[in-house]
Structure formats: structure tokens, C-alpha cells
């Protein structure tokens, strides 16, 4: 959709209500360099203040503004209308695979519960009396997680994953990516307990390598790559009789 003067408007359909809600149409002024978050904010501030949505940083750091835009999960603060609008304008819905609280707000609890289930918590092995850990930046383990630590927890990967939709107890790309980060953290002490957590039914083996998570990740991470590495770690542990 070409940029045009602020006087022109374009149609935006926004999900309203809970799981049994529906789309409502709004006509929003078209502006240059307009993001999808700008559109939603305009609707809430100038058309219907009861619209519920979530955002914080507006600059792609916090991971709170993800929504389904024209059928695909995206971070709305860094998604330009130009890049995603079609002839019908925009259709904005809450993220898939998560319970809708209201309008564009989903309950993120199941998403982060799975981070916990995948043992996504750092387990320290040192005390405050120990010196700082020295991690060699060029070591294979540290390099393996260079990209993975950039995850902002936006749940775009989770909402884009077919397997999450089919298998509700699948841990999902983000939780497994987090587990992979910690498996490679030389300071972490969870060890085989974390490998067991990610090897369970619904763990990393459930990934079908569709790569939707990697395709959609706004930070250009590769949860698929992390999960593939976890599969190798799990297989190795099984063969060694460690599980």
C-alpha cells in the first residue's frame, strides 16, 4: 500500500472480545512510516478507548506487542503498514495458541509456564564469595548461544508453530531455545535434570522442523537450530543411559 497524505484512510479489522469475539472494522488515517502499533494506538486513542492491547518499549526490545497481522504473528512496533497491508487493509488479531484475555491481549502464562517446564531458570553453581566466572568468548559453547540469548520472549515463534497448535503440551520454540542457551552455559548447574525436562513427551523431539519459528522470529534467531542441537544432546544422553 503506497504512502499517502494523512487525510486518506484505510480499513483495519481488529479482533474484539474474547475467544468468541469477532472482527470490527475501523477506518484509520494513513501516515508515512506508520507501524501496525501506531494503527492500534490510533484506534484506542481516537476511536474506541475500550480497545485492549499490550505494548511497552515501542522499539523492539520488550517483546510485549506481538499480534497476528494479516494472518502472521509479528512484532507490531517494528512492522510497517507498508510492508504488510494488502488491498483489504489490515486484519489484526491476538496471537494464536494462547488464551485471549480481551481484544488483542492474550494470557502469556502458558507460554512462560513452558519456559519453567523446560527448566529455563539459571541454576547457579557459584556463591557471592566466588570470583566472577570467566567465559571464553570464542569457546564453542559460548559461540553456540551468541544468537539465542537475544530472544525477547515475544511469543511470535510460539504462535507461529504448527506443533504447538497440534500438541498442547509441546514446550515450543522459545522455551527450548532458552533451555539450549542454558545447556551451553558453563556456569549453569542443572545438568541432566534440564536434559530430562526437554526430552519428555512434548519436548524437543516433538519438533517437526517446519521452521516457522525461524522464519517468523523478529530477531532473526533460529529456534529450529537450537532444537536440532537439543535433539542431538537428548539422543546422546539416551545412548549413554543418562536419562
Amino acid at each position: 500500500m503506497p504512502s499517502s497524505p494523512a487525510s486518506s484512510t484505510f480499513p483495519v479489522r481488529i479482533w474484539r472480545g474474547g475467544a468468541d469475539g469477532g472482527f470490527e472494522r475501523y477506518d484509520v488515517p494513513r501516515r508515512a512510516s506508520q507501524t501496525v502499533l501506531d494503527v492500534v494506538t490510533h484506534v484506542q486513542r481516537h476511536i474506541d478507548p475500550s480497545l485492549a492491547y499490550r505494548y511497552a518499549c515501542r522499539v523492539g526490545m520488550c517483546g510485549s506487542c506481538a499480534m497476528t497481522v494479516n494472518g502472521k504473528a509479528r512484532w507490531t512496533c517494528r512492522t510497517h503498514v507498508d510492508a504488510v497491508a494488502n488491498r483489504s487493509g489490515l486484519e489484526i488479531a491476538p496471537l494464536s495458541h494462547l488464551p485471549i484475555v480481551r481484544d488483542l491481549v492474550v494470557d502469556m502464562a502458558p507460554f512462560f509456564d513452558k519456559w519453567a517446564a523446560a527448566r529455563g531458570q539459571f541454576v547457579p553453581t557459584a556463591t557471592r564469595h566466588d570470583d566472577f566466572a570467566r567465559v571464553e568468548p570464542q569457546s564453542p559453547a559460548r559461540r553456540a548461544i551468541d544468537a539465542t540469548i537475544e530472544c525477547i520472549g515475544c511469543a511470535v515463534c510460539y504462535a507461529s508453530c504448527d506443533v504447538v497448535g497440534w500438541k498442547p503440551d509441546y514446550l515450543g520454540p522459545a522455551a527450548l531455545n532458552r533451555a539450549f542457551t542454558l545447556v551451553n552455559d558453563v556456569r549453569d548447574g542443572a545438568g541432566i535434570a534440564r536434559v530430562r525436562a526437554i526430552a519428555r513427551d512434548g519436548g524437543c523431539e516433538s519438533c517437526h522442523t517446519h521452521q516457522s519459528c525461524t522464519k517468523r522470529c523478529p530477531k532473526h534467531l533460529s529456534p529450529t537450530g537450537s532444537i536440532a542441537s537439543l535433539k542431538r544432546i537428548v539422543a546422546r544422553s539416551a545412548l549413554k543411559g543418562e536419562l
Partner: protein, 125 residues
Amino acid sequence: MRGSPALAVAAPVRGARAAAWRFVLQRASAAVLALCVVVHLATIVYAVRHGLRADAIVARVQGSVFWPAFYTLFVVAVAIHAPLGLRAIFDEWLGFRGLLADILLAAIAVGLLAGGLYAIASLVS
């Protein structure tokens, strides 16, 4: 469908060993099948191109050690691989999981194994 129900994730980790071994066995059997299918297709192409009829094939198979051993390996790999793949399909597409599903899948595995071995035995005896 939007607004899937709240997802309950069991806190205790159970079945990790079994899940890991299912994964290992499916990948290992897939590697065996990849080789077996290539050999199987190559023999089909050879038989067709050389005009071999059923009686000629049976004559070559009988008395051979390699072909019964090869197809026994093939059948065992199928009996492992197919039920594990079906398990994921049952689980993810049909929502059919649990003890009953595993009993059915074990029966399918036994059926594939028995049927395949019976076919090999019939061919070589």
C-alpha cells in the same frame, strides 16, 4: 482456532527416557529404511529391465542368505518406524493418545512384523 484452553504442563518430568528412545529408534530406523528403500527400488528396476518374472525372482531368492536377511532388516525397521510415526499423527492430528493409543500402536507394530516375516518365510521356504 483462537483462544485455546489454558495449557497445563506437568511439573514433574516423566517419560523422558521413553520419549528419548522413541526419538532415537525412529531416527535410526529411518536411516536403515533410507538404505533399504534404495536397494529395494534398485532391485525392482533391475527386475523390470531384465524381464524377470515371479518364478525367476523366487528361484533367485531361495537359497540366498542375503535377500532374506536384507528383507528381515527391512521389515524390522518398518515395524519400528511406522508405529512411531503413526503415534505422532494420532497424537497431533487426532488427539488420540495414552495407553489405548500405545496398545493399538504396539498391535500395529506386531502386525507389520508378523506380516513381513511371514511374507519372507513364504518366499524362501
